[in-house]
Assembly symmetry: C2
Homo-oligomer: 504 residues x 2
């Protein structure tokens, strides 16, 4: 058990927190107050005091005792050291410090921009939903790993493991007021609770695009096209990734031949989805447990090994929907211009119970990573919630595997903080003027890192380098008397004086 | 109790869900399979079939039985109707259908743009944190309303009620690797569990900006400046809103005179923050219960009624930090250009225990709404978590009250879906060409709503009106034989033919 969990289980922790205001004479017993000596004698520090200190201060970013007025509030309290909390985010979750947030923003912006290019509208749903929304009989992994709990009103709720059930709920709610086909996308955090500790996370962000109201395979073709567009934007090519495509109807047709009841279909799909994850004997045992004969299982496994649409047609015949759908999708992929990206693979069934037709997943061709994304048709989901069915398909695209792939390929973008200006007053008295300069620049749309304290120029240049500032604007007495400020273009070193009003 | 909660409490619900594949002959008992008649005879529908149907189909957006291939899968199952789930999001939470999402995106973009103009870097933290992070002894409302629970690993966790404790945790974790001052912003969903049902929500999004490492009041001045910049961008003026500003040090100095122990300070502030929410006698009773004498309480309440800095100086004297800090802030507000926006008001203390210095809140001048935003200095927060203190200040700005204010002022923006093109094939055979046209336009950065089914032109124009498409691109046989497509500029009605390659 981690330090976090043990400290969480220790109810004393919350009581060992240090009070907010700690003076050495603090006490619950009311008594005559003595103003602490530091407080009375402490001369208020000014910018110039700080400036004179700074020449000797080590460059630790101001974190030393040099706390100005705040220093007066904290005369080394004579209390025991507070036990430090676990500073890590809860197990399986992430913080996003600026460098990680920049990558997340970059990724999300591409998700959004691709969705926009395809004419999709953004939506979102609560991260917390009723547990009932995610409970299905098929026993998907997603259900076993539901991050669920009872709230203070004794309702069973869950942090969403996926976005599609919420989409279905909202579509049923909106009913006839929606214009079909609707094309929606969402980028939302999804959660799962894994008991095992193999470094996998308990949350990830998922980009979803869904088309509702279209029974035609053109919908699936459009969705795959949008993922391809995304890959191309970020530098991923068809030699890096591909899509394995199949249809749940393939399995359905095989199961039908062996008189397997339709209501077992979801369960069978979920077992089959685990083929590459658990031993084949275990798969067979599980399939057998659902009532499939050994003959059916063998036939099923044989069909699943097919990688050619022609071969599939030989076995299933050309009359069924499975083959027809797939042929149409491959034909459309040529027109959309991504036929090089997709291949038929009967083993793809996806792990969600609700798919009914074409299913697909994006994979890295080196075979090192888990599926990058996946989706398919789910024409019957709404009726499982008591709504009227609407033909539907969509995909989910997580934020984890794609980042691994970009790393692998050396395609991770270099993203830095970049400000247009760093503005700095050379004297304390000019701090207000610097603020005025900053305000003027910001009103013109320029970003400004305003130096809010008196610092030596050396520190300012260091800061400018860290923030990749393009310009340094210096407010000095001599120039300001003429209504001017000093400008230094940091890339070229070019320096000049300019009237504040003329500064663009 | 709502329908939702009662159905959630009913464990049978999960078993009444309809299986995903429902045929009339469904059964768990294996038996010889009979291919349903509909399935065998169903001729695959083509685009042209659909097209010929469409002339007579009512314009219900395709939701009718016209399900194409999907129709074959759903021959009115002979099972009881599934009980409809509660289609509302959990109590106190929101869905964001496209129209609401557009407003959220508009708001967040302004938050982000203002933060960027001020040189702040975006960060985020898990929405789920250890409960310990939010538990403080002072008994803030925020703690009583913590959305907390035990996870499946028996850890006490909570949906974050605010972002600042997570910020503090991350700053302690990063330690010396951070360059101070750090300027971070975040936009995150925060949760609280309110038992009462007065239509208040249990979640909202909050924009935070924080500056760490600066003891100077310039930090507070900069933060208020950024909020003012935000207001100005969205059309809110100083006659609509203002900031009430005070300092926790005012109270501190009063309490010190009455020998009130420093560790009661947080508690006293939280009681005082409720002054306008509960009767004054109740306030007095609560203050008395903390050990304050009646004399101290009277003095305290008198000081809290002061609205003039000069008056405050008369009472507290000019030597203390409270008056000096406030005077500096008011002086800086002139330089930053927002002195018209701020006013001293000793009654402002804010409801969080950890503030130590200047506190402020944005209010609507008509007095109709709750505080729009609030913030202040919290120099001692990190040590309550066992870290080294760093001078800090920040604010939180929710997404609820500002929208009410914009409505009130008639300033809500009109936001519509706007696509550049709607692309449509005139014949089924040209669907692939339409896809090609769409792909080409998207590669040029143009957004395209591709019509993925055969529809009459009347429908297409209706759709174009709904999506505010600028152009209609029609792919017809005659034109395409010349490698051309038809274009109609929808605002002007202008029509022309153009070679696909020349379409920009």
């Amino acid at each position: 058990m981690s330090t976090l969990s043990s400290s969480l289980l220790n109810p004393r922790l919350s009581f060992s927190l240090k009070p907010l205001f700690l003076f050495s004479q603090s006490s619950f017993a009311p008594r005559k107050f003595q103003i602490p000596r530091q407080f009375v004698s402490a001369k208020r520090k000014t910018f110039s005091d700080l400036a004179s200190e700074q020449s000797s201060a080590t460059d630790n970013g101001g974190r030393s005792g040099r706390g100005g007025r705040s220093g007066a509030l904290s005369p080394s309290p004579v209390v025991e050291k507070v036990q430090r909390i676990d500073v890590n985010p809860p197990k399986g979750t992430r913080d996003f410090p600026p460098e990680d947030m920049r990558l997340r923003t970059w990724l999300f912006n591409h998700f959004r921009e691709v969705s926009r290019l395809f004419g999709f509208e953004e939506v979102d749903y609560p991260v917390l939903e009723s547990e009932a929304l995610f409970i299905r009989k098929a026993g998907e992994e997603i259900r076993d790993q539901l991050y669920c709990f009872e709230d203070r009103g004794n309702r069973r709720v869950a942090l969403r493991p996926e976005l599609t059930p919420s989409l279905a709920r909202l579509v049923i709610q909106k009913g006839k007021s929606l214009s079909l086909p609707l094309k929606w996308f969402a980028i939302g955090q999804c959660w799962r609770y894994e008991r095992m500790t193999r470094g996998r996370r308990r949350e990830h962000y998922q980009w979803n695009m869904d088309i509702l109201g279209l029974p035609e395979v053109t919908a699936e073709a459009e969705l795959i096209s949008s993922i391809v567009a995304f890959f191309k934007r970020i530098g991923i090519t068809e030699s890096d990734v591909g899509f394995k495509v199949s249809s749940r109807k393939v399995l359905q047709e095989v199961l039908r031949c062996y008189s397997v009841p339709e209501n077992l279909f979801g369960k069978v799909c979920i077992i089959i989805d685990k083929i590459e994850k658990i031993p084949i004997d275990e798969i067979k045992r599980e399939l057998n447990a659902t009532g499939l004969s050994e003959e059916a299982i063998e036939e099923l496994l044989q069909v699943l090994s097919i990688k050619s649409l022609t071969k599939l047609e030989e076995i299933l015949g050309g009359a069924g929907e499975a083959v027809a759908d797939l042929k149409e999708l491959f034909s459309l992929s040529e027109k959309f211009g991504y036929s090089e990206w997709i291949q038929f693979d009967a083993s793809v069934v996806r792990g969600l119970a609700y798919y009914t037709g074409i299913v697909f997943e994006g994979f890295d061709r080196q075979g090192k990573l888990r599926a990058i994304c996946g989706g398919g048709r789910y024409d019957r989901l709404l009726s499982t919630f008591g709504g009227d069915d609407v033909p539907a398909c969509g995909f989910g695209f997580g934020d984890a595997v794609i980042v691994e792939l970009l790393k692998e390929k050396g395609l991770l973008p270099e993203l830095n903080l970049e400000v247009d200006n760093i503005v700095c007053a050379l004297d304390y008295d000019l701090q207000g003027v610097a603020a005025e300069v900053a305000t003027k620049l910001r009103e013109k749309g320029q970003s400004v890192d305003l130096v809010l304290e008196s610092k030596p120029l050396k520190w300012v240049f260091k800061r400018a380098a860290r923030t990749n500032a393009q310009r340094l604007v210096l407010v000095g007495n001599t120039e300001w008397q003429k209504g001017m400020v000093g400008v230094k273009i940091l890339s070229s070193g070019e320096q000049y004086e300019i009237k504040l009003d003329e500064l663009e």
